[in-house]
């Protein structure tokens, strides 16, 4: 009588989509449950309840934050969110524009690359958090300019180098083929190189959003009159841990939504790309 071998899971076994979804939900539930358990344990052992807001208290805190401020007749929570997102957008937009132009020039023209790459690589090594002081002096502490500049200088060097790299990695055969069909160099840049690098560039931009948030929040912590970072700092001064946690969860939600937006963008713009794996 033969013994049946038990199925052993090997690396990379596929999962059915429903299984994947259920496991994901279980993951979130486990984390929330563990947190609730910690809260319960903390209160039982006599800790200050201010330092262990349970999920119910977090919900109440959210409702407080989204209440209309009687004096200004606005809801600071939404106003802060809009302010932060608009600065993020400006910083990302300007950064992407500068990086794309610089990156493509570096990728296509060897002379540009030889001249710019060492400098850009060196600047990329300066932690943008150290540059905060520079921008505060140059742009003044009030206003948006210093926050936007910080984001731009934070993401541009790495993004430019990345774009240059993928531009140079375009299969040379496609470029030569284009020339042999009558293309001029501008034709090659617009019709051959750019279309082939778009999926990877979208990926790199998606990865630059994380650091952009870091620089934004850091700038808002230091000196700002609005924005999510500002809201967090206010809550910290009033020692409202529940407010802080609500802001953090909100940042997680915003970040995930932005990520999903990029995923959708990639699917729309480059359906032919093989960099999209099933995630």
């Amino acid at each position: 009588m033969t013994r049946e071998r038990r199925f052993r899971s090997i690396i990379g076994s596929p999962l059915a989509p429903t299984t994947r979804l259920v496991l994901g939900v279980i993951g979130v539930v486990v984390v929330l449950g563990a947190y609730e358990y910690y809260v319960h344990h903390h209160e039982q052992s006599g800790g200050n309840p201010r330092f262990s807001p349970g999920l119910g208290q977090l919900w109440t805190a959210f409702q407080e934050l989204t209440d209309v401020n009687v004096r200004t007749q606005t809801v600071p929570f939404w106003a802060d969110t809009t302010a932060s997102l608009s600065i993020l957008a400006k910083g990302l937009g300007l950064g992407i524009l500068i990086s794309s132009v610089l990156g493509i020039l570096m990728g296509v023209l060897s002379t540009m690359h030889a001249m710019c790459a060492p400098v850009v690589t060196a600047i990329a090594k300066i932690p943008p958090t150290a540059m905060i002081a520079l921008f505060m002096v140059v742009f003044g502490v009030t206003g948006d300019a210093f926050k936007v500049a910080l984001i731009v200088f934070g993401i541009s060097p790495t993004l430019a180098i990345g774009i240059g790299l993928v531009a140079r990695a375009v299969p040379k055969n496609t470029i030569v083929k284009a020339y042999s069909l009558g293309a001029s160099t501008p034709d090659v840049i617009v019709k051959v190189i750019i279309p082939q690098i778009i999926p990877q560039v979208i990926e790199m931009i998606r990865l630059a959003v994380g650091p952009a948030w870091i620089y934004l929040i850091a700038a808002e912590y230091i000196n700002s009159s609005e924005g999510i970072g500002h809201g967090i700092v206010l809550s910290q001064r009033m020692v409202r841990l529940d407010h802080i946690l609500v802001y953090l969860i909100w940042l997680a939600i915003l970040g995930t939504a932005i990520d999903a937006g990029f995923h959708l963008l990639s699917r729309l713009v480059a359906p032919w790309s093989s960099t999209r794996k099933d995630d």
Binding site: A178, S180, D187, A270
Partner: protein
């Protein structure tokens, strides 16, 4: 008596030489190469791996510059790839982000419209150019029996189908020379045979000269009407390759015919395992 000026050769190489930089100096690939292609010829270039046949093709294409000598097409020196010399590579032959039809239309768009004209003036562009390009491209796809796959992307096609599209993409521009760098090397035997027949047919339909590089001796004998064999002298490996055979052959002759078998034996002696020169 009036002298009739000879028409400039489709390809003329004089004393052509190429070398690459290697550790400790240079490696000469070939030197003092002379070659003339006068008219509507299907030239098969064979040689062992590393003999320089792909190098010669790249020099003719213009994607590489020679070390010595001159290379002219129609009297004009070759400096960079252009419309007069089409190319079909072994890999990465098509633009992956364009459909089959758009791939074949690519050259037409470049020739007859300016950059971004499609984006800036779409309504006029569509009626004036786009429909015409589509019709012409479809006609070429019909000739290679791929018209049903016009809206597919290259990655959805098999290797043989991709190469057929690449050939249509190159031929639609009516180049003076069609260069082919081991185009069927990555395909299975049946597909290879079918494509060999189709390229010979296309050669007879259009007045293009074909410059076909391969390491497969039988393929070279089957498709070409002129055979070129490039080989190194084993006694002097540093001297680079020379053309050891340059003769007319019968296109599409049966492989097991006596003539072809004798030729094969001769080539194998002279080209692939030559005797050291006395």
């Amino acid at each position: 008596m009036t002298e009739v000026a000879a028409a400039p050769a489709v390809l003329e190489a004089r004393q052509l030489g190429q070398r690459y930089r290697v550790r400790g100096g240079h490696q000469v690939i070939f030197e003092d190469l002379d070659l003339t292609i006068a008219g509507h010829q299907f030239l098969s270039l064979v040689g062992a791996s590393g003999c320089g046949k792909s190098t010669l093709l790249r020099l003719v294409l213009g994607s590489e510059q020679p070390w010595k000598g001159t290379l002219r097409s129609n009297g004009e020196p070759i400096t960079h790839p252009d419309r007069t010399r089409g190319i079909v590579f072994q890999k990465y032959s098509l633009f992956p982000y364009r459909t089959v039809l758009e791939n074949v239309m690519f050259g037409l768009e470049l020739a007859q419209t300016y950059l971004l004209q499609k984006w800036l003036t779409w309504p006029w562009y569509r009626t004036r150019y786009h429909r015409r390009f589509e019709d012409e491209a479809m006609a070429h796809l019909r000739q290679v029996k791929l018209h049903e796959h016009a809206d597919k992307y290259p990655h959805q096609l098999s290797g043989g189908m991709q190469q057929r599209v690449a050939i249509a993409q190159a031929l639609i521009m009516k180049p003076r020379i069609l260069l082919m760098d081991e185009p069927f090397g990555a395909l299975d035997a049946d597909t290879r045979e079918a494509l060999q027949r189709s390229i010979v047919r296309a050669f007879h339909d259009q007045q293009t000269t074909v410059f076909f590089v391969t390491h497969d001796l039988e393929e070279a004998l089957h498709v070409g009407n002129r055979l070129l064999v490039l080989a190194k002298d084993p006694a002097r490996p540093a001297a680079g390759s020379r053309i050891v055979i340059d003769q007319a052959i019968t296109q599409s002759a049966p492989i097991d015919g006596k003539e072809t078998q004798e030729l094969l034996a001769h080539i194998r002696r002279a080209g692939f395992a030559p005797e050291p020169e006395a």
